[in-house]
């Protein structure tokens, strides 16, 4: 309506002052679009919080009936007898917890060297097209459905373990840990590679100019500088292992057992819930006990993810 003249500092008017004043409360389409988009984005952001709280409230409500009533903390964490359908049901989750922990532990033994090695290769050594192709392949690997991994455990790893180690059953800690390790490795690789990439190139240049070899640069400069991101990658892998259900159900043998070697079959917390929940009456003691396992899993994965998140934030602050 007016053109501001910078030199003289005056507004060149194209209408009377009254006309211009009357325009000040005008709202055009862009104003409404802006408001609408703001509201939508707000809804999207808040829904994440609403859902996670909703899930927490739901499983707590379902599990709480058990915790308040039949629940015996010594039995739950100290006994290996998980017999919810027996005449006198017992709910000892120790074997399940140890099962999950042993499978996840072995998975990390497999995944950590694999994923860190892959991340270092992709981030520090691979050049140009090799690097791009590898990154895409790793991301594709992360997208393989877990039931497919379980199938590989069942149909390939199982006979292979029986033949290689001469054991009666190939569905055990070794099988499921290995499968889970391969499953967790891609996401760990991606996060680890991101944290290596975040290390400023001036560090590498400085070290190389001092006469460091490629490996010395990586070991003494890049890895220490990316340490937080690497720890976070491992923690997220652990969280992934803890929560994985289908592949573990298919490859672990699913028998309640305190494992004494990697060739023992075990049963995981997640697999127990998946296998039994459909068989229980809604609201029954067994049903609620399974939800208590769910609360336990939720709390553990929450703590692991939160730690990973805090560790990642630690990097940004620096």
């Amino acid at each position: 309506m007016g053109v501001w003249n910078f030199r003289s500092g005056t507004l060149a008017m194209s209408g009377s002052p009254q006309d211009l004043g009357a325009q000040l409360d005008r709202r055009d389409l862009a104003w409404f679009v802006d408001k609408a988009v703001q509201a939508l984005v707000f809804l999207g952001g808040v829904s994440a919080i609403v859902f996670i709280l909703g899930i927490f409230v739901f499983i707590t409500k379902e599990g709480f009936g058990f915790i308040a009533g039949r629940f015996d903390i010594v039995e739950f964490f100290g006994s290996t007898r998980w017999r919810p359908t027996s005449e006198q049901p017992t709910y000892g989750a120790l074997a399940l917890i140890v099962g999950t922990a042993s499978v996840t532990g072995l998975a990390m033994l497999v995944a950590v060297p694999f994923s860190l090695g892959a991340a270092i290769y992709i981030g520090e050594f691979a050049q140009g097209r090799t690097r791009e192709v590898l990154k895409i392949l790793v991301e594709l690997l992360a997208a393989i459905p877990s039931v497919v991994w379980g199938f590989i455990g069942l149909s390939i790893m199982n006979p292979l373990i029986i033949r290689l180690f001469d054991v009666p059953v190939g569905l055990n800690v070794l099988n499921s840990g290995f499968i889970l390790g391969l499953m967790a490795a891609p996401i760990m690789t991606t996060i680890a590679e991101d944290s290596l990439k975040a290390v400023p190139d001036t560090y590498r240049e400085a070290a190389e100019a001092l006469g460091a070899t490629r490996w010395q640069v990586i070991r003494r400069v890049v890895i220490p500088a990316a340490r937080n991101g690497l720890v976070a990658a491992v923690l997220l892998g652990v969280g992934r292992g803890f929560g994985e259900t289908m592949a573990v159900l298919m490859a672990s043998g699913h028998s309640i057992n305190l494992p004494t070697s990697v060739f023992d079959s075990v049963r995981a917390l997640t697999a127990t819930i998946a296998a039994e929940l459909g068989e229980t009456a809604v609201g029954s003691e067994h049903y609620r006990a399974l939800f208590t396992l769910g609360i336990f899993l939720f709390v553990v994965t929450f703590i692991i993810n939160l730690t990973a998140d805090l560790v990642i934030r630690g990097i940004r602050k620096k």
């Binding site: 560090y203 240049e205 006469g211 400069v221």
Partner: protein, 259 residues
């Protein structure tokens, strides 16, 4: 050190350099005298930094750099096939435009190069402390940092960081120091302090310093090289260049007619 070695620390012959298809250096023939400070001036993009970065072959990190001709450092061609890159880097230290301390403590920064090159040889803590003190004393930083050697080096001021970056080269015992606009990130006071330090180091090291700042070249160097569009235009004693330049381009640049 300088008296025992050759009179020329760096000699290049017909040095041409390409970044991909872009030619950045054209037939550069230079002989840099040992034990003095030589400055390189010229407008942005004239190839000063490129030349500097090809001497310790740090340019090769880019992967698409091609060179022809030769660069001799202490009478050895550093581009010869049998030459070990790490030994080149040991002989030729480099200071960068922005101070780039490693994300380690002050102590670990100073000892970084030394630890790389001593191999499996055991060095006692007290020997390390001596190296540390001597390096930091030489760059006039010892009194400032001696009480917090375990603090991260990045917490220092930019001036102190740049001094630290010079100090960490010394335990490696280089012969040549390349400095790529070492004061451009510093304030005038820091510039003065670092210049003074560079001046102190001359004689023990052959120093080749790239600068945008002509006053700095004039104050802080004994010989001066003027480059333009990838070619060496003039190389004389600094006082001659600034008082009586031979070439017209040099005179134009020094008088600020371009650049």
């Amino acid at each position: 050190m300088a008296s025992a070695g050759p009179a020329r620390a760096i000699v290049t012959r017909k040095l041409n350099l390409w970044y991909g298809t872009f030619q950045a250096l054209f037939d550069v023939d230079l002989a840099v005298r040992a034990g003095i400070i030589t400055s390189m001036i010229g407008p942005s993009g004239c190839g000063k930094s490129t030349f500097l970065r090809s001497i310790n072959r740090i340019n090769e990190r880019l992967g698409y750099v091609r060179t022809t001709g030769s660069i001799e450092v202490m009478e050895r061609d550093v581009y010869a096939p049998e030459v070990e890159l790490l030994q080149v880097r040991k002989l030729v230290g480099m200071v960068f435009q922005r101070p780039n301390p490693l994300p380690l403590s002050i102590r670990d920064n100073i000892l970084f190069g030394h630890r790389l090159h001593r191999g499996s040889q055991k060095v006692t803590r007290s020997r390390e402390d001596e190296i540390l003190e001597s390096a930091l004393t030489q760059v006039l930083l010892w009194d400032t940092v001696k009480d917090h050697l375990d603090r991260p080096a990045v917490d220092l001021s930019l001036e102190e960081q740049q001094k630290l970056c010079i100090a960490r080269l010394l335990p490696v015992k280089p012969t040549v120091l390349l400095m790529d606009e070492p004061c451009s990130a510093l304030d005038p006071k820091g510039t003065e302090a670092v210049e003074e330090l560079i001046w102190e180091l001359r004689g023990d090291y052959t120093i080749l310093i790239v600068t945008h700042n002509m006053a700095q070249a004039r104050r802080a160097s004994e010989e001066c090289i003027f480059m333009l569009l990838g070619r060496v235009i003039e190389h004389t004693a600094t006082e001659d260049m600034f008082v009586a330049p031979v070439r017209q381009e040099t005179a134009d640049y020094i008088e600020g007619r371009y650049g």
